[in-house]
């Protein structure tokens, strides 16, 4: 049984794109300082769930609680101020900004905390060497580091990572996940959306599997069997 004092809790969460319903009555919890993985195939609703949490997709006010406060329906820029940051799928760096400017814009909300330019450069040292280069001129792995660093600059209590391994070489993915473990160890709660089930199970304390907009399986990785996960993931 999980505690009631969750960092984030979604209750009967629904989400729509126009008339299309993308999430159906999703119940979802994130405890403090844990790493939660969300797995599911393409179009399952994983990114929509993250967008609902960050306010990019509007929801009902009482559908999402962060640290006991209803945040559903709030605009995205307000949710960042409360301590939720996201590394979006595809990185979405700002092409007209340099690496350092991309990182600096992450601190726009002025939230206080341990993360600043120097702290990010300590985690990703090669970014310091490339700080005046346009961010989109970097390699895919380096761009992902900028995207993570940019999200950290907001000093989040909850960091949402959407498909951060997509399109990257295994060695880079390994390096990025090693740094995420370090970030988690320093007290940031993580949510990782991942299609790589094996990796998701390895790094997380709790796993949610989403299919067709519904949570079809959840639990601690060690409690979930391979067959059970495959069945939930593919629906067969």
């Amino acid at each position: 049984m999980r505690s009631n004092g969750s960092l984030l809790e979604a209750r009967v969460l629904t989400a729509f794109y126009g008339d299309f319903q993308a999430l159906f009555d999703v119940d979802f919890r994130i405890e403090r300082n844990e790493t939660v993985a969300i797995i599911g195939s393409n179009g399952a609703g994983k990114s929509t769930l993250l967008k609902s949490i960050t306010g990019l997709v509007r929801t009902k006010a009482e559908a999402i609680y962060f640290d006991g406060e209803a945040i559903g329906g709030k605009p995205a820029y307000r949710i960042v101020e409360q301590g939720i940051s996201m590394v979006p799928e595809g990185r979405c760096l700002f092409p007209s900004l340099s690496v350092e400017e991309n990182l600096a814009i992450g601190a726009y909300s002025k939230r206080q905390g341990p993360w600043n330019l120097e702290a990010v450069y300590e985690v990703f040292p090669m970014l310091k060497e490339k700080r005046i280069v346009p961010a989109t001129a970097l390699s895919g792995g380096q761009q992902q580091m900028v995207a993570i660093g940019r999200a950290l600059m907001a000093n989040p209590r909850l960091l949402l990572c959407d498909e951060i391994s997509l399109g990257l070489a295994p060695v880079i993915i390994k390096e990025i996940y090693a740094q995420l473990e370090r970030i988690s160890a320093e007290g940031t709660t993580l949510v990782i959306v991942e299609q790589d089930i094996k990796r998701a199970m390895a790094v997380s304390d709790h796993v949610y599997c989403i299919r067709e907009g519904r949570v079809v399986l959840e639990g601690r990785p060690r409690d979930l069997g391979r067959e059970e996960i495959t069945k939930a993931y593919f629906g067969m």
């Binding site: 995205a76 820029y77 979006p88 700002f94 400017e101 992450g106 907001a154």
Partner: protein, 287 residues
């Protein structure tokens, strides 16, 4: 020497066109809005300056102390109240809304001030000049307009590339949705951009009123000059906009030298030629 004087006149006239254009360029750069009402807002600023001058008996340039904050506030309100509502939809709707604002402004100004031509009296400033070697006379007012254009564009460049607000403008221009994830309220930021644009429009409006006659109907033509300067210079580059203004200015003064009736036509012809040969302009940053 006449030709040199004509070219110098054209260069300095380009400063005024750059002033017309830089506010429009900023708005297009930040929110991809082609503000059809931009020229009418320049004329509105000239009329507001006229009211301030009539009421307080001050020099037109001093009237800017009141006109700039008034227009900036109007810009913020206009953006938050009208343009932002249209920007969330397709690309055509905000253009149509700005067209509506343009039509409204022209008719409101006509109703309030009639169709009579007006001018802002700037005393000696209108006739003061100095002589360059070779006996070429250069007006102080055109020089002042050009220098103000340099200061405005230089200031905008500094703002965009050296300040946090500028970074926010550029990030919203790149990707509105991701900018929100940084904690940026794009609706407020668009309001600030329009406020800044109309602050520049105020300066352009006052110079327009000092340099020549104005009436409620001349806004669209100023808007066309501004668009031409931006397109010649290349979308997204403010110094390019100044170059575009200068090319347009030189074309117009040379055209007027051949025949006064050719002034405007010559500018449009050069614009058309550049649009045909180099549609992206000379220094385009936005494609």
């Amino acid at each position: 020497m006449d030709l040199v004087a004509t070219v110098i006149d054209g260069i300095l006239l380009g400063g005024l066109y750059a002033l017309f254009a830089s506010g429009l360029s900023l708005i297009f750069g930040v929110m991809r809005l082609v503000n059809i009402a931009h020229g009418d807002l320049i004329v509105l600023a000239a009329f507001i300056a006229m009211i301030v001058i009539d009421h307080f008996g001050v020099h037109p340039l001093v009237s800017l102390v009141l006109v700039v904050p008034f227009m900036a506030l109007l810009g913020y309100g206009l953006q938050r109240g009208i343009f932002n509502r249209a920007l969330d939809s397709d690309i055509l709707r905000p253009v149509l809304v700005s067209f509506g604002v343009s039509v409204f402004l022209q008719n409101a100004l006509l109703q309030a001030f009639s169709a009579d031509s007006r001018r802002l009296q700037a005393g000696n400033l209108e006739t003061l000049h100095f002589d360059l070697p070779g006996g070429v006379a250069v007006g102080v007012l055109p020089c002042l307009m050009f220098m103000v254009a340099l200061v405005v564009i230089g200031g905008l460049q500094l703002l965009l590339y050296r300040t946090e607000l500028g970074r926010a403008f550029r990030s919203v221009s790149d990707d509105q949705q991701t900018a929100q994830l940084m904690g940026i309220n794009h609706a407020h930021l668009f309001g600030l951009a329009m406020a800044l644009s109309l602050a520049i429009v105020s300066v352009a409006g006052v110079f327009l009123g000092i340099r020549g006659n104005f009436d409620p109907s001349i806004g669209p033509t100023r808007m066309i000059f501004a668009c031409e300067a931006i397109i010649i210079g290349g979308l997204g580059d403010l110094w390019g906009t100044l170059v575009g203004g200068v090319i347009l200015g030189i074309a117009q003064t040379l055209g007027a030298r051949i025949n006064p009736g050719y002034q405007i036509l010559a500018g449009h012809l050069v614009f058309l030629a550049i649009l045909t040969l180099r549609p992206q302009g000379f220094f385009a940053k936005i494609r």
